[in-house]
Symmetry: C2
Subunit: 211 residues, 2 copies
DNA sequence: TGCTAAGCGGAACAATGCTCCGTATAGTTA
DNA sequence: TAACTATACGGAGCATTGTTCCGCTTAGCA
């Protein structure tokens, strides 16, 4: 199957001639500089740092950023791509190594939450439905939804969680729970996600939904 | 007791002389016009509508908006104050009328979620930790936290939910779950909140929290 | 060494929250 | 009724931020 094959991306498809004529050396150098600078700025100022600050940190102009990364969201994707891929790969691995599918699901969620919570503002950018964040939103969800779906379906098949859980909605919900003021000492995103995951395993009972 | 006494606000404290010298007639008229216009714009364009649009809809200038409402957030608070107060009042009422505290909690959460979900963008504005939304954030949380705390504590005392639930965090979490792209047909905020509430009632089990 | 396409920097544009200040007027007083 | 002043108003303007545009520079090649 045409799986992910991420990791090193030397010259983005060097085999297919004519398609990508190989970038100029300074361009490749700048791309790496930008990724490093962006990662550093994201750590100190959060993912919401202005594009200008990143350009300044990298010592390049605005135009250079936007030639390499069409939008802010694309830059964010590029910076975190490796970690997202690692999360995606961890799903099947946990499913294979854990005692039960539900245990795998819990571990996977813990890993994902750790990722989101430590990247200040990332979860927020992920959820905001504005046009600009579109690509980021789509990338995360497209990449991770199948992984979550496999975990959820396995746990449901094993009878460990209810069978009516929408994987997409669940993933989105976990992201939402990690959004907002992450530095707020009074809000413990991990605890709330644990509650949500516990709810997954609870036997569905008649909800007095008044609406 | 100096309770809320919201609803009509004739001259904001007519008894205390000198403190508030009673606004001019045109000012009072404009404030009402603004509230109505803002409410209408929020319904059609969402809570994130630009201040300029609201000014235009009300037929006033920017200055007029900002004299009446120091920030965007204050305007939003004013528009939804009645509904927030209604939510706050519903807490004790449900606790008194419901069969069990947990049932009251569930019903209250349903009511709150209905409120948030139908006001496009409100939950998002609520959570975003930026300075501008500060007042809104603070108002909602300060007003509703005690209500949720009473519900949660009653349910915990009755042994219906776990005892280690932080009311603040729970309220914040519900708000978060309602944030994001509410119009996304693939995301059902109500269902996710139900999951969270179900997790409240689940017996705490050893979480393999790796951290 | 010279040429050209690829790449670069940063000014400029658009959107948006908010401030400032000159002008208009409600309410009062003579 | 006329004059006066505190109050209120309108909207231009400022600051921030994502994004685009375009003239200048330079890597890579002949």
């Amino acid at each position: 199957m045409p799986a992910s094959q991420h990791g090193e991306v030397p010259a983005s498809g060097a085999d297919i001639e004519s398609a990508v004529p190989r970038k100029r050396a300074d361009a490749r150098r700048n791309e790496q500089t930008l990724l490093a600078a962006a990662a550093a700025v994201f750590v100190t100022d959060g993912v919401d740092a202005p594009v200008r600050d990143i350009a300044k940190a990298a010592g390049v102009g605005m135009g250079t950023i936007y030639r390499h990364f069409p939008t802010r969201a694309d830059l964010i994707i590029a910076v975190y791509r490796h970690q997202v891929e690692a999360c995606a790969d961890a799903g099947p691995a946990l499913l294979a190594s854990s005692a039960t599918p539900y245990a795998a699901l819990r571990q996977w969620v813990d890993m994902f939450v750790d990722f989101l919570v430590t990247k200040h503002g990332l979860a927020g950018t992920l959820q905001s439905g504005d046009t600009r964040s579109g690509p980021l939103h789509a990338y995360f969800l497209d990449r991770l939804r199948p992984v979550v779906a496999a975990l959820v379906e396995a746990a449901a098949a094993a009878g460990q969680i209810r069978g009516d859980v929408d994987p997409f909605g669940f993933l989105y919900a976990v992201g939402n729970l990690c959004a907002g003021d992450t530095s707020n000492p009074h809000y413990d995103a991990r605890a709330m996600v644990h509650l949500l995951v516990a709810g997954l395993a609870a036997r569905p009972q008649a909800q007095p939904a008044g609406g």
